[in-house]
Amino acid sequence: MTLPPSPRVLSGACVLALVALGLIVWSLVDPRPIPVIVAMSIGQVLGTLSFVAFLSVVARDLRARHSLVEPKKAATGDSAQP
């Protein structure tokens, strides 16, 4: 089974997103000043952080794959020369 490059970061992103979603839902079902302000400030920040963390994991994964492919290409290119 292939594991994500940073399982901890990914789990953290999921937890952050769940907290952010909880704050958004809180503001929807109880629209008083504090829930609305918390959801529109802290909720947004946590949600954005979780998405950025996910994107960073995907970017790291892509970079790792790219760096694995490049040496192979280089190796095949070297052997192809007479």
Binding site: M1, T2, L3, P4, P5, P7, L10, S11, A13, C14, V15, A17, L18, A20, L21, I24, V25, S27, L28, V29, D30, P31, R32, P33, I34, V36, I37, A39, M40, G43, Q44, G47, S50, F51, F54, V58, D61
Partner: protein, 249 residues
């Protein structure tokens, strides 16, 4: 006094019932008047299912997993936040929202009262103002008016929780005042001061320049009266005959 403080504290910390404007139907809240709320809750639920599923199952790191996580961490939360923000912003315009702080309850109740003859209540009965009469009158107009109004509202919330949270309603009438005088420009968004009929009123004609320059307030004791019956501007001795007589103000 102590009971007042306790009541104010309870008002702040007491859990409230879920406030949908829809109807309770078969034990479920059915809020067909607020499609954005349903959309936001649906997106949040879908996202939560994906995220909890990922945390529990821990699937292999494949393209499908990435695509599903993109939905769970990106698309659905962004939709939920966008719909929630719009809904939250709309909620902040409602009179009920302003009346959440106990020091505003007297003003809110007056606006809710269909028999009240105060300026604010009469405006609340106008369809153009309706349930959003606080926001409509106190909104700053102009290019950044909405943003500035909401920033001012944030300041109100901050001051409420840091200074006025335990203030009794009786004390609030004495201690809480407007940051700046209410600008006539807000009145003039509707009452432009230009129609012939308006200018035919002698008081309007005589004070026209002062009104437009904010030297005289439309909502003052000598003109249309204060908008709220419980309102008492700072350092205005004319409203408190006892203090005026005692020379305390």
């Amino acid at each position: 006094m102590r009971q007042d403080r306790l009541a104010a504290l309870l008002h702040t910390i007491r859990p409230r019932p879920v406030q949908f404007s829809g109807k309770a139907l078969g034990g479920c809240l059915f809020s067909h008047y607020q499609p954005l709320t349903i959309a936001a809750l649906g997106c949040a639920f879908a996202s939560a299912c994906i995220l909890v599923g990922f945390l529990v199952i821990r699937p292999a790191w494949s393209t499908v997993t990435k695509a599903v996580l993109l939905l769970g961490l990106g698309v659905f939360p962004i939709c939920a936040a966008a719909a929630g923000n719009v809904q939250g912003y709309e909620r902040t315009k409602a009179r009920a929202f302003c009346g959440n702080c106990h020091v505003m309850t007297a003003h809110r109740d007056d606006s809710d009262d269909p028999t009240s003859t105060s300026l604010s209540s009469r405006h609340a009965r106008n369809k153009l103002f309706g349930d959003e009469n606080c926001y409509t009158c106190h909104e700053d107009y102009g290019m950044f008016g909405t943003v500035l109004t909401k920033l001012g509202g944030m300041r109100h919330v901050w001051l409420y929780y840091t200074e006025y949270r335990n203030t009794t309603i009786a004390e609030a009438k004495e201690t809480i005042h407007l940051l700046q005088p209410f600008p006539n420009e807000n009145c003039m968004q509707c009452h432009s001061t230009k129609p012939k009929l308006w200018l035919e009123i002698p008081d309007h004609r005589e004070t026209l320049n002062d009104l437009r320059a904010d030297r005289i307030s439309c909502a003052s004791a000598g003109c249309h009266g204060f908008a709220h019956p419980n309102f008492r501007p700072a350092r205005d001795a004319t409203l408190d005959p006892a203090k005026k007589a005692a020379g305390t103000l």
